[in-house]
């Protein structure tokens, strides 16, 4: 297997892990104003306090992976998406410091707002970043040559809104696992509502895609994609159905699992429809790739270290498994 393909897979894995893991963390941030009860907010915060930092690190790893494997894409895309990318950072700063500052604050309100708004800003900017990447980038002689707002269009705004709904779904499904009684009860309700909104966005984006990308329609109905592309909506609908059922039956773990599947069926379907329109349309991954020595040297590091990282990440979740609220961290 060639190194470029392996690195593409690794970056994809980092992005998927980030979206799931920080997705529920940011989702809890988005849900933070669902309750006025400070104790319930403590519970929400405590459900992610031990893990949010490690979860967020997958974003940094994904970005670092692009820098290693596709330096040209890193340079071009980070210049092109200057505003949404740094907006993610601004949002994550407020979200991140809110954990410690809120715990020490006598007046929690400013940090409740920082946690909510920081998460909201980061999520919207992530949606716009995704939209910006999918909308293509103007490149001349391997350098970014577009304007500062090329990423802003109705399609990217729609993706940002869809991402809000998606993260709320993940966040409330995670809260179902980690909480009891009143918080869990409204988390079921939020998850149920978010699931329908996510479904609506997925249908909207599916209909919209061929208009935004004329090539998508022919991609759908010609080989090789015609053989597998329809599997994504089928998986999505199946996961949606199971999600609604599991919420109705008040199951604790299944809603989270089906939320993840449902969420990804949509995104993978979108990417499969328009690939390789990802990033500069004129450039293939092979052209953008780094020197072979860099790819293989860094890959050896990943092969040795990443299993350890995944191992202690799982261990950490095991240690902190169970419901929160029976102890106080701070």
């Amino acid at each position: 297997m060639d190194l470029v393909a392996i690195w593409s897979g690794l970056i994809g894995l980092a992005i998927i892990l980030y979206v799931v893991l920080d997705g529920f963390g940011l989702g809890i941030g988005l849900l933070f104003r669902s309750t006025r009860n400070e104790e319930e907010r403590d519970t929400m915060m405590e459900s992610i306090a031990p893990v949010w930092d490690a979860n967020q690190t997958w974003l940094v790893f994904g970005g670092g992976g692009v820098f290693v494997a596709f330096p040209m894409i890193y340079g071009v895309v980070f210049s092109a998406l200057y505003i949404p990318l740094l907006t993610i950072v601004f949002g994550l700063i407020f979200r991140g410091v809110a954990f410690e500052f809120r715990a020490h604050a006598a007046r929690k309100d400013p940090w409740n707002k920082a946690f909510f708004l920081g998460s909201l800003v980061a999520v919207i900017a992530q949606g716009l970043t995704l939209g910006g990447v999918l909308s293509g980038t103007k490149v001349v002689e391997n350098r970014f040559a577009g304007g500062p707002f090329d990423w802003l269009n109705p399609f990217s705004v729609t993706l940002a809104l869809a991402l809000i709904a998606g993260y709320i779904l993940l966040g409330s499904a995670y809260l179902i696992i980690k909480t009891t009684e009143t918080v869990q009860e409204w988390a079921y309700a939020r998850a149920h509502r978010a699931a329908w909104i996510v479904l609506a966005f997925q249908i909207l984006v599916t209909i919209w895609t061929p208009f935004h990308y004329p090539s998508a329609l022919s991609n759908w109905f010609s080989p090789p994609r015609i053989y597998f592309i329809w599997i994504f909506p089928l998986i999505g609908l199946f996961a949606f159905y199971e999600l609604i059922i599991s919420l109705k039956k008040r199951r604790e773990f299944l809603p989270f699992i089906f939320s993840v599947v449902f969420f990804f069926a949509g995104y993978l379907g979108l990417i499969a429809s328009i690939y390789p329109y990802v990033v500069p349309p004129s450039i293939t991954f092979q052209q953008a790739a780094a020197q072979q020595e860099t790819l293989s040297f860094t890959l050896w590091g990943v092969i040795i270290v990443l299993p350890l990282v995944l191992g202690y990440t799982v261990y950490s979740y095991m240690v902190f498994r169970g419901k929160v609220g029976t102890e106080h961290y701070y």
Partner: protein
């Protein structure tokens, strides 16, 4: 104001804000590991209480350090895309390894360290503290390896303006890495030891929790007594390393214009260097001092700034003064440590109010010295991004000025808010003082796998 200047200001603002936090993270994590080790070995409760007190400061500090650090990983691409594209083959693995071997390690075990008391065995908790401490040091290693490569590039060949790797171990262990790594790590240990010592001295002056803060101060001073003299030596190592590998930088930070041909080069204690007329308008010199410092001989030849084209020289006054202020702080600490040794010898370490007051006054100076050190390091690298190979002006992103004005303004506002809040909550935590009464968590099963309810 153009994109280049604004991007440089933004990178300077974000790194100078960020570095304040890792300095304390690295040193305080080490202090906490020592304290927890003492608790496990001696079983004295006071060490547990010390851990729980100082870890609160550590946690607040760590949080701000993480979020301000993420900024930097983005800025290589957003603001210096041309640099990133040119050097990535050599440079990007440093960042990837930092994320893999340090960020994940710190983040993964920080949760256990802060919230794991009720869930894991004490030995596992101690392991978590050690791993967070190790992660902080590994992080420093990779980022300093990256910086050292920019200062003293090695293990590459240039092909059409792009850096290609020829030898990774040469690139990682570039000529200035050892000096920079040891100097920075020691700066963190030293700064943190002095912070703990200064805060403890303040409490002793107030007379609150004397037993607790005597012990805190004692451990911090033992560490500082080891680190401070060692740092003076490592500073000398760093200086000679600059002399050998970056002669322009050395000449600039010493305001040394003319190569000495007949006798030794003088060391200017104070000078007002003027870059236009290429001389010092006023100077107090120590004859042969510079030759003695960097070549360890009275007549050693030290190249003057005039040997190098004007366009290749960094800003002399900034370097001259930032370097001297850093060194001055190092020596203030050195003399405070000698004083501490004398007091200890006479058995009056905790009684001398003058000494405790001095500790309280000098304790934040380590942060200042770190900033001056980084200014010396980075301004001294100019006008190069990759020393002698790629100019800073060649590395900037092709973006409009407005982008950087927007982000720089936001950074300034956000850092002001976050910085002020940080101080407020740290001071609040300090005012509350140590908790000496809440029960010590019972010893947990080794794996810590039992669900909470079953306890």
């Amino acid at each position: 104001m153009d994109v280049l200047l604004l991007s440089r200001i933004q990178f300077a603002v974000t790194t100078m804000f960020h570095i304040l936090f890792p300095v304390l993270t690295i040193g305080l994590a080490f202090y906490l590991a020592v304290v927890e080790f003492l608790w496990l070995v001696t079983k004295q409760e006071i060490y547990y209480r010390m851990y729980r007190f100082w870890v609160k400061i550590f946690a607040i500090n760590f949080g701000v350090g993480v979020v301000s650090g993420v900024v930097l990983e983005f800025e290589f691409g957003t603001n210096f895309a041309n640099f990133s594209q040119a050097v990535s083959n050599v440079f990007s693995p440093f960042l990837a390894f930092e994320i893999l071997t340090a960020f994940f390690l710190e983040a993964g075990f920080l949760g256990l360290m802060l919230f794991g008391w009720e869930r894991v065995h004490r030995s596992i908790h101690f392991l978590a503290t050690c791993l967070v401490s190790l992660g902080a040091i590994i992080s420093a290693f990779w980022i300093l390896a990256a910086n050292s490569w920019m200062q003293t590039p090695a293990g590459y060949k240039l092909v059409d303006g792009k850096f290609m790797v020829t030898d990774f171990s040469a690139a990682i262990f570039s000529p200035s890495l050892f000096a920079r790594m040891s100097h920075m790590t020691m700066a963190s240990f030293e700064t943190s030891a002095l912070v703990v010592a200064g805060i403890s001295a303040y409490y002793l002056l107030k007379g609150s929790h004397p037993a607790f803060f005597r012990r805190s101060l004692g451990i911090a001073l033992v560490m500082a007594a080891l680190f401070v003299p060692l740092q003076v030596y490592l500073g000398d190592v760093s200086g000679r390393q600059v002399f050998h590998h970056q002669p322009t930088k050395l000449a600039a930070l010493e305001a040394h214009w003319e190569t000495n041909t007949t006798g030794g080069a003088p060391f200017a204690v104070i000078a007002f260097p003027d870059m236009e007329t290429e001389k010092n308008l006023f100077a107090i010199d120590v004859p042969n001092g510079l030759s003695l410092l960097v070549t360890h001989s009275f007549r050693g030849k030290v190249l003057g700034l005039k040997e190098f084209p004007k366009k290749d020289r960094p800003d002399v006054p900034v370097l001259f003064w930032s370097f001297r202020l850093m060194v001055a702080i190092g020596f203030i600490f050195f003399f405070v440590m000698i004083w501490a040794a004398v007091l200890w010898w006479r058995g009056r370490l905790y009684e001398s109010r003058l000494f405790l007051n001095t500790l309280w006054i000098v304790h934040p100076l380590g942060f200042l010295a770190t900033e001056f050190g980084w200014i010396t390091n980075e301004v001294g690298r100019q006008p190069w991004l990759v020393y002698n190979l790629m100019r800073t002006s060649e590395g900037v992103s092709p973006i409009p000025t407005g982008n950087v004005i927007w982000s720089l303004s936001l950074f300034l506002i956000i850092f002001a808010v976050i910085g002020a809040s940080y101080f407020y909550y740290v001071l609040k935590t300090l005012r509350m003082g140590p908790d000496l009464s809440s029960p010590i968590p019972p010893i947990q099963r080794a794996a810590g796998m039992q669900p909470l309810k079953a306890k």
